[in-house]
Symmetry: C2
Subunit: 454 residues, 2 copies
C-alpha cells in the first residue's frame, strides 16, 4: 500500500522564513515615491506598517527567524499535509508522480493565515490597536480577522460591495472572529464618499477598497494597514509552505522537477516556489517553477514590466511589476484571489531574468481540472487552486506523451467550501468564459505615465 | 512552549474497529418485524444492505478488521489531529485540561465519511451499482457521495425539500462528487407521490426522505440503501476516532476523566466514546462518557425506552430505543444532524444500564459556546459540535469551582463552513430558542402502539 500522506511533527514547523532576495542575481528594484519618482526609504512606509515589517521588506538577510509566538499559532494548522495524488495520477494514466501541499486545513481555509499571523503579531508588539485592510471575495479578510482575534487587535475590513452583497458567507466568517466588515465604497472615508457621490450604486473594486483601508490607517497613529500579497515580507512569510515540502519530499524519497502554484499577487507562488528556486540559484539545479494565472488577468504572460501603482486611486508607492495597468478591471472570474493587475517586485524580477515560467488558463479548463481533482482526490479545491491543477494536468499529459517520469509538486492553496455555487454553474453549463483582447490590454497600458524600466 | 497538536503517522490508522457489543453486560435487544413483532433475522435485511454489513450488524466479535481498501481512502484525512484547547482553557481560567479530536479535516467536513467509505466498499464488493440514502442538511449525503465516487457507485440522495431549497451549498457539494440529489418528497416514489397528493408544497422531513430512499432500494436488486447513524455497524465504523485518541493522549501523557460528544443517532458519540468505555467495562475505570443533545430534541434525557420505528412511514424494523416517538417533529434548530427522534439500540442499552450520561442544551448556549471556541481556538465548529463544546465549558467551570484538575476530551465532529448564516443570526441577536413542552412529548409518545420493554 503506497504512502498517501506525508506529515511532520509540530516541532518540524520551520524556525526561519527564507528570503530569496539574498540569493537573487539581480535584486528587485526599489519602490518609488508616486510624486517625486525617487526611491522611498523605510520611514515613508512607517505610517502604514510597523517598523519590524518594514525592515523585513528591505532586508537582504537570507533567513529571518519566526517568533515563537507566531509558531505557537501556526501550530493550529501547521505543518500542513503533503499528499501524493494517486487518484489523479491513475485517472491521467501518467508516468508523472504528482504531489500536493494542502493549505486548506487552516481555520480560514487557505494559505493566507501564514502571513496574517506574523503581521498581526508585529503590529501588536509595536502597540497597534487596530488594523485595516481590503478584501475581495474574502479569503484575505477572513485570515486577518482570525489573526487579529488572537492578539486582541481590532480588525476593520473593507470588502468590495459586489462581494459583500453576493458572497455573504466569508463576511459572516469575519464577524464570527470579531472583525468589523464594511461594504466598499463606504461613507466612512473621503475616498469612498467621492466614489459614492459619482455613483451611489457603485459595486466597488479592490482598488477602491485599498484606498479606503489605507485612508483609515493614516487617520490614527495606533491604526496600521495590512496587505495579503505582493510585498516582499508577505511573500517571505509564505515560504513555510515550501520549506515543509522539502522535508516531506525527503520522507517520500523524492524531489520535484516542476513546482506549480496559482498566481495572483505572488504570495501563493512564492510560498511553495522560492524554497525550491533556492536549489537552482545555489546549486544550479533546474527545477521548473511555473506560475499559473487566469487568461482573463494575464499580467505575467501578456503584461509589461514597468513601474506601476498598487491601487487604482494612487495612494501607494510605485512598484516595479509586470502589470496590465492599475486601471485594468479584470473580468469577474470566480478565482477572486487572482484578480489583481500586477505582480510583486521579486516575482517580476525573477520572471524578467528568466528564472521562472508563467502559463495562463481559461476558467472552464480550470473548473474541469477542479472537478477531476475533487472526484479522484476527494478534496474540493478553491477556484484559485484550480489554476495550479490545470497546469499539473497539462504537464502530466506531456510527460505521458513523452514517456518521461517527472515529479510534479503543486500548492493546493485552499478549499472551495465557499465557492460551491461556481461549481454548480460549471456543472450546469452556465459558467461563461472571459476573454481579454490585445486591444483592451494595450488601452489600459496606454494610460500609464509611470516610469519604464530599461 | 506547550504542545498544541498531537498527530499520528499514516501507519497508525487503526487496523480494526472496536465492537462494544462484545463487552456489554446486557446485549442490545434484537430488532423486531413491524408486523409480527418477532425478532428479524439477517436475511430480512438483505434487500437493503450487503451481507457483510448485516454480519457486522449482529456480530459479537470484539474486533472487526478494517479492509486495506478502506484504510487506503481513510488516508486522505486520517489520522485526524488531536488538539489541546489551550486558548479555551485560558479563557475559562480552568484547572481542567481540555483536548479535542478534529474530524472536520475530512473532505466532506465531518466524521461521516468514516462509515460512508466502508459502507460503499462492502456494497461494491457485493456487486451493488447504486446506493440510495436520505439527508437532512446534507452532512451524511455529502459523505456518502464522496465515498460512492471513489468506488464508482451511483449515489442517489433524497434531501429534505426545506433544506434542498434553503441550504443549497451541500447539495452542490454532492453534485460535485457526482451524486444525484432530489428534493423530498419527490414524484419518483409512491411514498413521495402520496405525500405530494396531500400537500403539493410539503417541506418534507427526514422520515419521508428515508421512506423514499428505502423504496427506491427495494425496486432493484443492484441497488441498496445506506444509513449514516443509529445502526450497530455504523457506530462501530466510527470507533477509529476514539482508538486514535487513545494513542494521541499517550503522546500527551494524559488520560481522560470525561469524554463528550454531540448526540443525534449515536455515531458521533460512539465514535469517540466506545473505545474509552471499554476501559470502564474491562478494567473498572470510571471515565464519564457524556452525550450532549439539543433541549429541543431530548430523547435521551426526556424520552422513553421502548421499541419504535426508525422512520415515520413504517418501512423500517422496530428498534429498541430511547425515543420521543417516530411522529415527533423536532424544532428547526441549526444542528440538523441532531434532529432525530430516537437513539440507536446500543447507546440506548448503555444509558438504560447507567453506563453513560446524557445532558441537554439550548441552542443559544450552544452558539455562545461555539463563538467562544472560534475566537480562542480558531476553528469555527459545526452547530452539532457546539453541543459538545457547551458541555465541556460547563464541566470545565465545575472543575474550576471545585478546584479539581480534570482531563476532558471531546469530539469536534465537523466545521461550520456551511452554517455561517446560523452564526450570523446568533451574532445579530436573531437566533430563537426552541422549547419543547412535556405535553408535546407525552402526546407524541401516546401515539405509539409499539412494544414496551420491561
Amino acid at each position: 500500500m503506497a504512502q498517501k500522506k506525508f506529515i511532520l511533527a509540530e516541532s518540524d514547523i520551520p524556525e526561519q522564513w527564507y528570503n530569496i532576495v539574498a540569493d537573487m542575481p539581480n535584486k528587485p528594484l526599489p519602490p518609488l515615491h508616486p510624486g517625486t519618482k525617487e526611491p522611498i526609504g523605510p520611514d515613508m512606509l512607517a505610517p502604514l506598517f510597523p517598523m519590524e515589517l518594514i525592515k523585513q521588506e528591505v532586508t537582504s538577510e537570507k533567513w529571518v527567524p519566526i517568533p515563537e509566538e507566531v509558531r505557537e499559532i501556526y501550530k493550529i494548522w501547521r505543518p500542513t499535509p503533503l499528499y501524493r495524488a494517486t487518484g489523479l495520477e491513475k485517472l491521467l494514466d501518467t508516468p508523472a508522480k504528482i504531489y500536493y501541499k494542502y493549505e486548506g486545513v487552516s481555520p480560514a481555509g487557505s494559505h493566507k493565515p501564514n502571513t496574517a499571523v506574523p503581521q498581526a503579531f508585529y503590529n501588536k508588539q509595536e502597540g497597534v490597536t487596530k488594523i485595516t485592510t481590503e478584501t475581495g471575495a474574502g479569503q484575505w479578510g477572513s485570515a486577518l480577522s482570525f489573526a487579529c482575534q488572537h492578539f486582541g487587535i481590532e480588525c476593520e475590513v473593507y470588502m468590495v460591495r459586489a462581494s459583500y452583497n453576493g458572497k455573504p458567507y466569508r463576511k459572516m466568517m469575519m464577524n464570527t472572529w470579531g472583525a468589523s466588515v464594511y461594504p466598499s465604497p463606504s461613507d466612512r472615508t473621503n475616498a469612498g464618499r467621492s466614489i459614492l457621490a459619482q455613483d451611489a450604486n457603485s459595486p466597488g473594486s479592490l482598488g477602491i477598497a485599498i484606498s479606503e483601508a489605507v485612508e483609515m490607517a493614516l487617520h490614527d497613529e495606533h491604526t496600521k494597514y495590512a496587505l495579503g500579497s505582493v510585498l516582499n515580507h508577505v511573500l517571505m512569510h509564505q515560504t513555510v509552505i515550501g520549506l515543509e515540502c522539502i522535508r516531506q519530499l525527503e520522507q517520500a524519497g523524492d524531489f520535484p522537477d516542476i513546482v506549480v502554484a496559482p498566481f495572483g499577487g505572488g504570495s501563493n507562488f512564492a510560498g511553495i516556489g522560492f524554497p525550491f528556486l533556492r536549489y537552482n540559484l545555489e546549486e544550479g539545479k533546474n527545477i521548473r517553477c511555473i506560475a499559473a494565472e487566469p487568461a482573463s488577468c494575464p499580467k505575467l504572460t501578456r503584461g509589461v514590466f514597468r513601474y506601476d501603482l498598487g491601487d487604482t486611486v494612487g495612494m501607494t508607492p510605485l512598484l516595479p511589476m509586470y502589470t496590465l495597468g492599475h486601471n485594468f478591471i479584470p473580468a469577474p472570474i470566480h478565482a477572486g484571489g487572482l484578480r489583481y493587475h500586477g505582480a510583486g517586485a521579486i516575482v517580476s524580477q525573477l520572471l524578467r531574468d528568466g528564472l521562472i515560467e508563467a502559463q495562463s488558463f481559461n476558467q472552464l479548463e480550470c473548473f474541469d481540472a477542479g472537478i477531476k481533482f475533487a472526484r479522484t482526490e476527494g478534496i474540493i479545491p478553491a477556484p484559485e487552486a484550480n489554476h495550479a491543477i490545470a497546469t499539473v494536468i497539462r504537464e502530466a499529459l506531456i510527460a505521458k506523451e513523452e514517456g518521461t517520469p517527472k515529479t510534479i509538486l503543486f500548492n493546493l492553496c485552499g478549499h472551495g467550501h465557499f465557492d460551491m455555487s461556481a461549481y454548480e454553474q460549471f456543472l450546469s453549463g452556465k459558467l461563461v468564459e472571459h476573454e481579454v483582447t490585445q486591444e483592451e490590454i494595450l488601452a489600459s497600458l496606454a494610460e500609464l505615465d509611470t516610469p519604464l524600466i530599461a
